[in-house]
């Protein structure tokens, strides 16, 4: 099948209207646009599950002792009489984290938009290998199913936190969830990593090899730069997590001692000797930290594109934006130790990681300033995609700034693993990346489905979400600075924290409202997919190549020749042109000069 994916060297080849059955078109599709939609819809379903879990946790924290009929209904035997079991609370913490980080914000975000946009924006007929791409999606689907199934095993799902530190995750004696639930978690993640690697390799090869004529690297839209570098980080760091998972499987099932040593539990001494949990922490965070940027960079790439298009202005400092993406990617691989300042590793190593961690604030700051300058003297089209992008910059700044505290080893001693951390990373990677995902959906929905979303529902969705996101996570910093540890099933055993309980309730109310308003989005998404207003070819009057392709989808993207590229993607409001945009495939006028960027 992959034979008909064209290399741009034979551009006279036309798009294919070859025969497609229902199965090859909608299920085992090799068309990147269909695969993107599959990723998006699977991601949305996983997102609903993940968000629902967070709401259950929030209700438990806010009203810990009261029996809750919702718990009884949704958790069944895990909430006898409507009182949530302490183990299942930790399982919710664990699976919520895993699903949101990997299944929604890695696969759902990167999978959707890398697949949709890489071929369309660089001018290729499909991914380098449509077949691998299909396998990548179906592995992701399989891993999603396994992760969800783990909720139905007798001893409960994995409950050692999304970081699954051994020995807790390694010993069924330590925790019910470390039995079959953990095995399923590890299997699911191993498959997920395989899926992610296949996807990333495909993205890298496609970007390097299949760019249309004239699309030099320095003319790539920032979306593509972000997806490309994200894929590189993924290829570098995901295998390390795979090795950690495999070694953990060995320790659990085959009696090795990579991460375990000297353990006495439930009245017996275990045979493990010589391993170290700290080794697992290193391996985990070697992926775990770059993972933050795997989640964030695509969101920033989408934001760059959406902000420039809707500000009707070139993105400010294109070169600096590309440089900062590369700098962030490089630095992201040498900062993992800031998760481990107090793990028992050598304090000197702690100072090295403090240094590299605070360095990463510099390219991040450059990006934020450049976004703000792009807005300056623009002609801002405040559609829902633009609102989510501006919202992203706002939460990225708010969440990023507290990183200065957490990245500083001396300060981390005290706020490590408190709610302060929860507030920080939810704002800077959770909410920001989610906003990026929403911005992408609102912006490229017409490209994906040929129809428009209802903008007024979009406005409601954004404003309620934006207020609630700050309502949830801003006060959370303060309960963190009161010293309240996270992952506590209830705080009622510590009278010391009694005065934070009213904040917890406030946060939960904001969270519930935020959860409900996502229904508006869901309605808008499903309804508009079938009944939305039909779109025009280039609704945002955008410069990038995807909007030169026909609205109707077919394998091959363009009828006839793939457009050639003559300029960068950001000639918005360029003097000397009547329109306020000049698509990339329009040749230079006589005497017009290319910007030296």
């Amino acid at each position: 099948m992959s034979a008909h994916v064209d290399n741009h060297t034979h551009e006279d080849d036309h798009g294919h209207h070859h025969k497609e059955t229902f199965v090859t078109k909608y299920i085992f599709s090799q068309d990147h646009k269909m695969i993107a939609k599959q990723y998006l819809i699977t991601g949305i379903i996983m997102g609903i599950i993940g968000i629902l879990m967070s709401l259950l946790m929030r209700m438990q924290i806010a009203w810990p002792e009261k029996p809750n009929a919702i718990f009884e209904a949704l958790l069944g035997k895990w909430a006898p009489g409507g009182v949530m079991d302490a183990d299942i609370y930790l399982a919710l913490v664990t699976i919520h984290g895993t699903i949101m980080v990997f299944f929604v914000l890695t696969a759902g975000l990167s999978g959707t938009f890398s697949n949709l946009l890489i071929p369309l924006q660089i001018g290729a007929r499909d991914m380098a290998s449509g077949f691998l791409n299909m396998i990548s999606y179906w592995l992701f689907f399989l891993s999603s199913v396994i992760m969800v199934i783990s909720f139905f095993v007798e001893t409960g799902p994995a409950a050692a936190g999304w970081t699954v530190y051994p020995p807790l995750s390694a010993l069924p004696l330590a925790q019910g969830g470390s039995g079959a639930g953990m095995t399923l978690w590890l299997v699911s993640m191993a498959i997920f990593i395989a899926s992610s690697l296949l996807g990333s390799l495909n993205y890298i090869v496609t970007v390097l090899n299949l760019r249309t004529k004239g699309m030099s690297m320095t003319r790539l839209p920032l979306t593509i730069w972000a997806f490309f570098i994200t894929a590189v980080i993924g290829v570098v760091s995901f295998p390390v997590l795979l090795s950690a998972a495999l070694l953990l499987i060995m320790d659990r099932s085959f009696g090795t001692s990579f991460f375990l040593s000297d353990i006495f539990i439930q009245g017996e001494v275990l045979h493990y000797q010589g391993g170290s949990p700290v080794l697992f922490e290193h391996l985990f965070w070697f992926l775990g930290h770059p993972e933050v940027y795997i989640v964030l960079l695509p969101a920033l790439g989408i934001t760059s594109e959406v902000i420039a298009t809707n500000a009707r202005k070139p993105i400010f400092g294109y070169r600096a934006m590309v440089a900062s993406i590369i700098a962030i990617a490089f630095l992201s691989t040498i900062v993992w130790g800031h998760h481990m300042f107090i793990s028992g590793m050598n304090p000197f190593l702690g100072s090295v990681f403090t240094f590299t961690t605070l360095l990463i604030a510099i390219p991040s700051a450059v990006k934020a300033f450049n976004y703000i300058t792009t807005l300056w003297k623009g002609n801002l089209q405040l559609n829902p995609a633009m609102l989510f992008s501006i919202g992203l910059v706002s939460t990225f700044i708010t969440g990023g700034l507290t990183g200065i505290i957490l990245g500083d080893s001396a300060l981390d001693i005290n706020v490590h693993d408190t709610y302060f951390v929860v507030a920080h990373f939810h704002l800077v990677m959770g909410i920001s990346a989610l906003y990026g995902l929403f911005a992408g959906v609102y912006h490229w929905f017409p490209k994906m489905f040929g129809r428009m979303l209802n903008k007024n529902l979009g406005y409601i969705h954004f404003w309620v979400t934006a207020v609630c996101a700050y309502g949830v996570f801003f006060p959370m910093h303060f309960i963190g600075m009161a010293g309240l540890p996270r992952r506590y099933y209830t705080n009622s055993n510590f009278p010391l924290f009694d005065d934070t309980q009213n904040v917890q309730i406030l946060i939960t109310i904001f969270a519930l409202v935020a959860g409900l308003v996502q229904l508006v989005f869901l309605y808008n998404f499903i309804h508009s997919m079938f009944y939305g207003k039909k779109t025009v070819k280039n609704p945002w009057r955008s410069n990038t190549l995807e909007w030169t392709a026909p609205i109707e989808h077919f394998h091959g993207n363009w009828e006839g020749e793939i457009p050639h590229v003559h300029r960068w993607a950001y000639d918005y409001s360029k003097p000397g042109h009547d329109d306020d945009f000049v698509p990339q495939n329009i040749p230079f006028k006589k005497g017009e000069e290319e910007l030296q960027h």
Partner: protein, 356 residues
Amino acid sequence: MTGLLTILILLGITIAIWQMVKIFDLAQANRDTSQVANNKDNSVNAYLMLAFLGFIYFITIISFALWGDLPLVSNSASEHGPEIDRLMVISMVVIFIVQTITQFLLHYFAFKYKGEKGRKALFYADNDKLEFIWTIIPVIVLAGLIMYGLFTWNDIMNINEDDDPLVVELYAQQFNWKARYAGADNVLGMANVRLINLDNANILGLDESDPNAQDDIITTELHLPVGRPVLFKMRSQDVLHSAYMPHFRAQMNCVPGMITQFAFTPTVTTAEMRLNPDIYQKVKNINKIRNENSKKLQAEGEEPLDRYEFDYLLLCNKICGKSHYNMQMKIIVETQEEYNEWISEQKQFKNSLVQN
């Protein structure tokens, strides 16, 4: 049955919201809902941007006003505590300034440059000088913070064994803490979990033949003499735990198979801290909350809550299993005399063993 009913109700609520959204959607059938923003949309959302900026400032001020007493930024009870607190305050001031300015610029620009049909944006793609400036400013600010942070970190983590610290082992297990004092020789006896023998009550796995172990003292409360450096050696018998002592600005993981360490000098006794006006006020406030909760509990025929009295605490701060949320140990800082008296009442290891 209630379960099914609840699911039906939740489903009902979902459908109700769905239908409301649908009605809203259909009511706009004749309006322009094509997702492309028109002048009116731009104008309305521009003002909302300004309002949102106000909301961010509002929630910041409210948070500081209501919950800004920040126990982790003031009233530390260890020698290095004020250093961390000072760095924390400086970092927060920097963050606060940057946050206020950048959020203003972002939302104000979003308001000011709202789109109008027919207007053209300024074509402005690059300015090396400007970009250099906002690269170099964070570099300078961060360099300062990094330097300050690293000096503080080194001060805290460099354990100086010359000033004769009191050696105490913190021993973690699911789901409680034990403390082991080194006794008169101030040297902890050798120990390994493989030596645990529940039959003769050697619960921490001390080497029974080690002379240093004989005078070790195992307790379930942590007593510390004020003003003397304490060197903690941390051990765990089963999974990762983290010894978190927020009032002392101290935390270190307890890792099975290795010994980790952390040292600090307590500076304020428990009795003195209870009289500290801030803490006194906080305790009073908490008791007010507990009284109200007690009234509600009593109305339902349940036991009222105990009165809260301030104590330093050691909490577990690394997810460790089912009862992670209740793994704590009381810490009492007292004068040297009080401490001496207390420790002399505790059983030494050699006397704590059960002879069969």
